[in-house]
């Protein structure tokens, strides 16, 4: 008998979750963990009601309120009527269908992709979905995690399964040592700038190489988080000792002997040697510099010391068209550098960069410094637990002394659907994941960057190169 065909990690996990596979039909994939929030779930519950059915397995779904919650005075009723209605609807739905909800005020509340990992709900080898494209974040633990639409949320609630076609497999390998001031956000912004905002469409990505291996879990999450910004369905990283150490002792993670037994199983979660990928890309860590975006999709990024490209420098005609439109929106000129550009807001937060390590990185840099006078700085912890930890470590005082505002957890100014919005025409250096037109508020202008680059902007009031300050 022939030896089993070598498999990628993605295939191993996928194959283990196929309930039914039929020619001409999508695979029926069993979902281990389902996260829901107030924005993409109400119509799914509505659907269940219309069909007269219950949730298939209540233990497998966890809810929180994050997208449109205010980040100030969370103990008061939500001022904005529609937001309040959605959060109340989530509350009502969770109660009616018997689901766990980490509501405003609960010690576990936070951005859905931050609380899953920190509570030990996100584990290696799982299938994880949520009605939010940044579900890819969880892939940092070596699982298949991806965003779904509300109809699929309804499928999972009703049947714990969704219908999927297997995507193609891409490996992105990064080797070498990162330079001074270069962090995981720069790695992913660099990759997206190289392959474009649609360069990985149709693929599921595995990140590999020693640069990735040397990253902490939180840094790995930042990378997997933005997989969707190059069009990928998701991105994953094989689990290792760093992963197991992070999970150990977390609230809902398996404990004691169960944990030890699972760690042994998880060690097998890696791509076989000789397994084939549909596409392999390799990057060198030494080539990566602090990055910043200049345009209106995350692929429009440059090294912080580079000039904005001109039409002639872009290969693709569609990119040339986007460039003109983007620069008009951003109020920028092709061929000019971004360094020294005055900015108005700094947003440190979102499922990309609102974990405790991100806050520590910023606090380390700003300690003893003051924010620039005309800049408003928002620091939004990703969860109540991150907030608590930040306060325990005294980061709140460092931020307060620097003139930064540490607020309560939520998605905040990442997506302009709560009270935190960047005003029209204003520039914001943001640690979030999208720089689309109007994303941070109507007519807002976003520069995506790492927490370190955001911290530099907060202190100097300008786009600056962190390497000059450390």
């Amino acid at each position: 008998m022939m030896a089993n065909k070598p498999k990628t990690l993605f295939d191993k996990i996928w194959d283990k979750h196929v309930v039914k596979s039929q020619v001409g039909y999508p695979d029926v994939i069993f979902i281990d963990r389902h996260f829901i929030h107030e924005v993409t779930s109400p119509q799914a519950f509505d659907g269940l009601r219309k069909r007269g059915i219950q949730v298939f397995n209540r233990q497998r779904t966890t809810a929180t309120a994050d997208h449109n919650v205010p980040t100030k005075d969370q103990h008061l009723p939500i001022k904005e009527a529609l937001s309040r209605h959605q959060v109340e609807t989530l509350r009502k739905n969770c109660q009616e269908f018997g689901l766990e909800l980490y509501d405003l005020g609960h010690p576990f509340q936070g951005i859905v992709h931050i609380i899953g990992p920190e509570l030990g709900l996100t584990l290696p080898g799982m299938t994880i979905v949520c009605g939010d494209s940044h579900t890819s974040t969880h892939g940092a633990f070596g699982n298949i995690a991806f965003g779904i639409g509300t109809s699929e949320v309804e499928q999972v609630l009703a049947t714990q399964c969704i219908l999927q076609y297997k995507p193609k497999r891409m490996k992105i390998e990064i080797n070498g040592k990162l330079g001074k001031g270069v962090v995981s956000k720069d790695i992913i912004l660099y990759i997206i700038s190289k392959i474009s905002a649609s360069g990985a469409t149709g693929y599921f990505v595995e990140y590999a190489g020693d640069t990735i291996r040397n990253l902490s879990m939180e840094a790995r999450m930042t990378i997997c988080n933005m997989s969707i910004e190059m069009g990928a369905r998701g991105g994953l990283i094989a689990p290792d000792e760093t992963t197991f150490a992070y999970i150990k002792g977390r609230k809902f993670a398996p404990q004691g002997a169960d944990f030890e037994r699972l760690v042994e199983e998880w060690k097998a979660l890696k791509t076989d040697e000789d397994a084939e990928f549909d596409r392999v890309l390799t990057f060198q860590a030494e080539d990566i510099a602090p990055m910043i975006t200049y345009g209106t999709n995350p692929g429009m990024g440059i090294k912080i010391t580079d000039r904005i490209p001109t039409q002639a420098e872009l290969q693709d005609i569609s990119e040339q068209n986007s460039l003109t439109k983007s620069l008009a929106y951003m109020g920028l000129e092709a061929g000019l550098p971004l360094l020294g550009k005055a900015i108005d807001y700094v947003f440190i937060g979102s499922c990309t960069n609102a974990r405790i390590e991100d806050l520590r990185l910023v606090a380390d840099f700003v300690k003893g410094k003051q924010k620039a006078e005309n800049v408003e700085v928002w620091v939004i912890p990703g969860s109540k637990q991150v907030e608590k930890q930040a306060i325990a470590e005294g980061l709140d005082k460092i931020f307060a002394e620097a003139g930064f505002e540490l607020r309560s957890p939520g998605c905040s100014a990442c997506l302009g659907m709560n009270e935190d919005k960047v005003p029209a025409g204003k520039y914001c250096v943001s640690t979030s994941n999208r720089n689309f037109e109007g994303r941070q508020g109507p007519q807002s202008r976003t520069f995506l960057a790492s927490p370190l680059t955001a911290a530099v902007a907060a202190i100097t009031g300008k786009v600056g190169d962190v390497r000059e300050f450390i």
Partner: protein
Amino acid sequence: MAKDKFVILKSSAVPLPIENVDTDQIIPARFLKATTREGFGENLFRDWRYTPDNQPKDFVLNNSTYSGKILVAGKNFGCGSSREHAAWALHDFGFKVVVSSFFADIFKGNALNNSVLPVVVSESFLQTIFTEIEKNPQTEITVDIENQTISLANGQSETFEINAYKKTCLMNGYDDIDYLLSLNEEIRAFDLVNS
């Protein structure tokens, strides 16, 4: 839930020759707050259609020259946020088909789940469609699901891909949950073994 059956569609089309149209443009985040699937059409492409003080802008949906149940858009339509509201908004506005040379993955799935058919054509055929609409805004385009063809009034046509499963669903007006619910016992058994 049974939905409308969809076999053949003849309609004029609305041209949107812009690439990388993301779902934040299709339906801006601040309109995601409804708790039902209806009513999103009025905010479709809101910020391209209206100024912040609700004055109509120079945008194709405000131009009475163009109408129809088919939207023809540039490459990489529906990129960005996974919000299914983008598909609801297009459906609620009255679009049954979106034609482009490339669609973002999640949007494509969401559209198919909501009786909006994404039709992928070659880049050159897409440009031909834009040219034909420019020549005659009322020109009729025919989308035939059974034969998987998209045809123009001048006789030019192209075939498009649609998987067999979705084709059956669209033509019979049933959805994914109807199918999954029929597998309830198999799923229950799988959950017990793998929990």
